[in-house]
Structure formats: structure tokens, C-alpha cells
């Protein structure tokens, strides 16, 4: 056909195998989605969102806190809590030490109190760079305590989730953290507490199937992977290839699981709006 003339060239582009070597460590960054290479400084200035395709790079807990909280200031809770090895699971103790060294964190979540555009909040921020954000006893306990503190202080609760799921090395104890955190939310939410859940890439398994999906408002970053079972397991079960957009934030919104997909640049503003909507103004109440 005539319009075929305007179509793509018939030959394939083979990505150069040498590109990786050409990038000096730390100075440049390559977008895993579109392959665009950009200066790390530029990328950071752009909140770690690819300038070319809009891909949201993962943020660790402290980067997220810098981005969301006023002046990046946090009154941290339970900063020194660490995992034990209750099952004496082969290799777990050593892996924990390695994860601490690599991430600079003691476990997979940072919790505390801070402010968003002046609104005080209790916040929990998970970090994928510690043990794939997996939930063991420490993550479950710190999140539960954060919920309880939000209840005591009568503050809104914000949880930024990112996790591969429950931490296998703590087996049944990590499974029970799902029940523990959800039970704490039951109390908090039935007492009128406001809980905003922000699902970031990726939020899977035991974390999505507990507190992450229980927000009064569930927000997610664009293209964040959110689901219960992993793609590979599902493909093996149904013996079919799944579409590319499967389990993305947009897919979840389309299927009614998420309220809104929010670009990282607009996230703080959106949270501010939501917090503002839940603030009862004295003058309004008294008709002043």
C-alpha cells in the first residue's frame, strides 16, 4: 500500500553492547525503558523521572522523604530496630548484613512524623533497595507502630509502598505481619483516621495484599507494577503471554483498584490537596 512508504525502515536496530562501558560510573544514567542516556544530575533535578519517556526511576526511602516532606525533615521513629533470624534460616543473617551495607538502612522501611505543605503527618516509606522491600517482622512492626502513633496523635497517615512481598526467610512470622498491619489499620480507620496509600514501583504480594491496598485513597506512580502474584507465575498458570501493561498502575486503575495515577512532579501537590480536603476549618464550621 501507498502509506507503507512512510512506515519504519525494514531493518532492525541492534543496540550496541558497548554502551554500558561508555558511561562513567555515577555520572550518567541510562533509562531502562527508552535507553536514553542522561546526566545523573539532570535526572535528579527532574525528580528521577526520565526527561525523554517519563519513566519513573525507583526512589529509596530517604530520596522519597526529601521529595515529599517539607524541608525533607523527619522525626524518625524506631530508627534502630533490626531484624533477627528467628528461623535460623540458611544464609539469612549474612544476607541481612549485606543488605544493610548496600542500602545504608537497617531494614526496609523508614517511619516518622513530618509535614507536607504545613500539614503534619505520620509517614512510612519503604525502600526497595533493602532486601527488595520485603516485609519481615521489622517492617511489619514499624508500620504497625506508625499506624498506632498516627492514631494517638490524631494525624493523617501516609504509607509509600514498594516491595517484592513478604520476606521468605522469616516464613510464618512475615506472613503474620500482613494480619498485624491490617488489624492496626482496622482500628485506625474505624476511628476516623485518614490513610493515604501511595503505591510505587513495584508493590507486590504480601504488601499489596495488606496495608498497601487499604488506603482510604490509593494513589500510584505512573507505570508502577502493582499486583499479588508475579507475572512469571501467572504466565505459567494460564500458559499465555500477558500484555505489556499487565499489573501497571494504569491497568489497576482501569480495573478499579486504584483511585488515581499521579506523576511524581504532581505528587506532593496532590497529597496537599487531599490533606486540605480533610481539614475542618473552624470558620467554615461556625459559618464565619
Amino acid at each position: 500500500m501507498f502509506k507503507d512508504l512512510f512506515h519504519k525502515k525494514k531493518y532492525a536496530t541492534i543496540p550496541s553492547k558497548n554502551t554500558k562501558r561508555e558511561i562513567p560510573e555515577g555520572l550518567m544514567n541510562k533509562c531502562p525503558k527508552c535507553g536514553t542516556i542522561q546526566y545523573s544530575k539532570e535526572l535528579e533535578k527532574n525528580l528521577k523521572v526520565c526527561a525523554s519517556c517519563g519513566h519513573h526511576f525507583r526512589l529509596n526511602a530517604w530520596e522519597r522523604i526529601q521529595l515529599i516532606l517539607d524541608e525533607g525533615k523527619l522525626e524518625e521513629f524506631d530508627a534502630r530496630m533490626v531484624s533477627e533470624d528467628p528461623l535460623e534460616f540458611p544464609g539469612y543473617a549474612a544476607k541481612l548484613e549485606q543488605q544493610k551495607k548496600n542500602s545504608g538502612l537497617l531494614d526496609g522501611v523508614v517511619t516518622g512524623q513530618g509535614a507536607i505543605s504545613g500539614f503534619p503527618v505520620v509517614i512510612a516509606v519503604m525502600s526497595f533497595d533493602f532486601f527488595s522491600g520485603s516485609m519481615g517482622s521489622v517492617v511489619g512492626e514499624k508500620i504497625t507502630r506508625a499506624i498506632e502513633t498516627a492514631m494517638e496523635r490524631e494525624l493523617p497517615l501516609l504509607i509509600f509502598s514498594t516491595s517484592g512481598g513478604a520476606r521468605m526467610q522469616e516464613s510464618i512470622l512475615s506472613l503474620m505481619q500482613m494480619a498485624k498491619t491490617s488489624a492496626a489499620l482496622a482500628r485506625f480507620q474505624s476511628a476516623g483516621g485518614l490513610y493515604i496509600s501511595v503505591l510505587t514501583d513495584p508493590t507486590m504480594g504480601g504488601v499489596s495484599a495488606s496495608f498497601a491496598m487499604l488506603g482510604d485513597y490509593n494513589l500510584a506512580e505512573p507505570a508502577a507494577l502493582v499486583g499479588f502474584a508475579g507475572r512469571i507465575v501467572i504466565e505459567q498458570t494460564i500458559r499465555q503471554k500477558l500484555p505489556d501493561n499487565f499489573q501497571t498502575a494504569e491497568f489497576n486503575m482501569q480495573h478499579g483498584q486504584i483511585d488515581k495515577v499521579v506523576h511524581r512532579k504532581e505528587l506532593k501537590q496532590m497529597l496537599t490537596k487531599l490533606l486540605d480536603m480533610h481539614t475542618v476549618r473552624e470558620d467554615a464550621v461556625h459559618g464565619g
Binding site: 488489624a183 504480594g205 499479588f228
Partner: protein
């Protein structure tokens, strides 16, 4: 023997020998009674030896035994007047979960359980006991009904896990499980859960937030199936037996961790050897716990359940690092191991 497990082979071989000897004696009119008595004794001691010291992997195989009693088998024996109720009122009736009204020693209760199939066709209809969101939502609907009419809730847990399929994801598998966990926490009626076979992951826990959690002796309960763990940890699903050992999945382990309140003994060789007896002992245990819980107010029941789960976890707190000696390892003070 039908449904023979690998580790039971020596026992069954001995049984065959005894039978052969008996037959041979009868045919030829020879008296082997001394010999047979001796072999019977050896059989008994071999049997005791085998079943008294089952490894976690062997228990896992018993828990998954094709003939192991399902929820419906046990419900039939334990309760009277069972009325099965269907559907989540939102989408469909998931046959991987069964539930309804029944009487336990004359007391009306709501009973809910995962339901494996009895044969291939049944298994396909029931997704091998792995629920979709509509299954969890059916369970929640029945529990809300129980809460409204002040009926105790009994759940029977027996699933490899929530169904890992695209349709389940599309309909909100995560949300369905999460909601059950949250809602079960605050019901004002007694909730007693019993793991009767395999308690696999979030799909099991979605029926598992009870005031009391019991386990049959050979049942297992874990965060991921040992097969799944083996394929993630060692890239080899066939190492499931090894994973079963490492993951501490037996009733005995869970009692030690304070996750469950009681182990209900099984007939020697597993629950499938005597379903009526198994149902009787499980019923007795549930009844005993129910008596205690019925004495509590709705507020006390919710608080009791909250506290049960609130204290689960193993962690400690490092002391603040000394400014002068940053290289020294901080001291650890064990703070809480299950409370």
C-alpha cells in the same frame, strides 16, 4: 496401596509380605502363626518409628495427600444442619471456598473453608482450592452476616494459596485478601480457625485471623509454598523438601512461635486414615475453645484477636552508636520474640 507416599513404601512392603505368608499358610495348611505374630510386631514398631518422627517434608506430603479430608468432608462429620450459601453478591460464586450456616453441638455458627476437589473434574471446577477475589469476598460476606447475627465463625484452612491468574489480578486479588484481614480483625464474634491441610500464604491467612488458630498435627502453614520458596531461593522447585525443612512450617514449629494455640492430633498415618475420628477430635478442640470465647463480650473478643496478632514478630533494637568508637559493633538487646 492407593495413595501410598514414597516414605511409606517399606511399611507397605512388609504388609504385603505378611499377607502373602498368611495366604501361603492357608493354602498349604501350614501354621505360620509364630512367624506372622513376629512380623506383625515388627510392622507395628516400624509404623511407630515412621509416623512418630515425621520430617517436615513428610508432613507436607501428608498434608497434600489426595485422600486427605477436605473442608466439606469434615463439615459433614462435625456439624449438623449445614446449609451451604453461595456467591459474593458482586461477581460470582467461587467454588474454591465453601461456606454457610451449620450447628455445632446445637449452636448455630457460620462455617467457611477452602475446598479442594475430590477428583480432576472437581478440582478444575474448584481451581484446586485456590480462591479468586470472589471467593474471599464470599467469605467476607458470610462473616459479616455472622457478625450481624452474633454467630461464631469457624474457618477451615486448606489451600496452596490464592489463585495466581490474570482474572484474579484484574478483579483485585490483593484488595480482596487485604480487606478480609482488616475486617476480620474487628468482628465482635468468636472466630476459630483450623488449618486442616496446607495453609499457603495470603490465600490461607485471608480466612485465618482468628481468636484461636488450631492446626492438625500434619498440617503445614507458611508464607509461600515450599516449592515456590525453593524456586526463588535456589532456582530449583524440586528442592521443596529442603525448603520445607528450612521454613519451619509444621504445627509444632508454629506452636513454638506462638502463632497457633493448639495442635490437634491426627490418627496414625494421617487424617485420611480415619476421617470420622479426625473430625471428632477437631470438633472437640473447637468446641472447647468456643466455650471459652462465648463467655467474652464483643469488645473483649476484638481486643483478644488484636492482641494475638499484635505481638507477633521477632526484632531487636540496636543501642545508639557511641560517637567515639564508630567501628565497634553496637550491642543488641533482644526486645521481643513473639511478645
Amino acid at each position: 496401596m492407593a495413595g501410598e507416599l514414597q516414605f511409606e513404601k517399606p511399611l507397605n512392603e512388609l504388609r504385603q509380605k505378611i499377607d502373602e505368608l498368611k495366604r501361603f499358610g492357608q493354602e498349604r495348611g501350614i501354621d505360620f502363626s509364630d512367624e506372622i505374630a513376629r512380623l506383625e510386631q515388627r510392622y507395628k514398631s516400624l509404623e511407630d518409628e515412621l509416623y512418630d518422627e515425621l520430617t517436615p517434608a513428610q508432613k507436607m506430603h501428608l498434608a497434600r495427600h489426595q485422600q486427605r479430608p477436605t473442608s466439606l468432608d469434615l463439615i459433614q462429620h462435625m456439624f449438623t444442619d449445614f446449609i451451604e450459601l453461595h456467591g459474593d453478591r458482586l461477581f460470582a460464586d467461587d467454588l474454591a471456598i465453601v461456606g454457610g450456616l451449620a450447628k455445632l453441638n446445637g449452636v448455630p455458627v457460620t462455617v467457611i473453608g477452602h475446598q479442594r476437589g475430590k477428583d480432576t473434574k472437581d478440582n478444575i471446577a474448584r481451581f484446586f482450592g485456590s480462591p479468586h477475589p470472589e471467593g474471599f469476598r464470599k467469605a467476607l460476606r458470610l462473616m459479616q452476616q455472622a457478625n450481624k447475627f452474633n454467630r461464631p465463625i469457624i474457618t477451615l484452612i486448606d489451600t496452596k494459596g490464592a489463585y495466581p491468574g490474570n482474572t484474579a489480578e484484574e478483579r483485585g486479588q490483593s484488595e480482596a485478601i487485604a480487606r478480609n484481614l482488616r475486617e476480620m480483625a474487628i468482628f465482635g464474634v468468636p472466630i476459630i480457625c483450623a488449618v486442616i491441610g496446607e495453609g499457603g500464604s495470603g490465600g490461607a491467612l485471608a480466612l485465618g485471623v482468628g481468636n484461636r488458630v488450631l492446626m492438625l498435627e500434619n498440617a503445614i502453614y507458611s508464607v509461600i509454598s515450599p516449592n515456590g520458596a525453593a524456586s526463588i531461593l535456589w532456582k530449583d522447585a524440586s528442592k521443596a523438601d529442603q525448603a520445607a525443612e528450612a521454613m519451619k512450617i509444621t504445627a509444632k514449629d508454629l506452636l513454638e512461635f506462638g502463632i497457633i494455640e493448639e495442635i490437634v492430633p491426627e490418627p496414625q498415618g494421617g487424617a485420611h486414615r480415619d476421617v470420622a475420628q479426625q473430625a471428632e477430635s477437631l470438633k472437640a478442640a473447637i468446641w472447647r475453645h468456643l466455650q471459652e470465647l462465648l463467655a467474652m463480650s464483643p469488645e473483649e473478643l476484638a481486643l483478644d484477636r488484636y492482641e494475638k496478632f499484635r505481638k507477633i514478630g521477632a526484632f531487636s533494637t540496636l543501642e545508639e552508636p557511641q560517637e567515639e568508637t564508630p567501628g565497634e559493633a553496637a550491642l543488641e538487646t533482644p526486645q521481643s520474640i513473639n511478645g
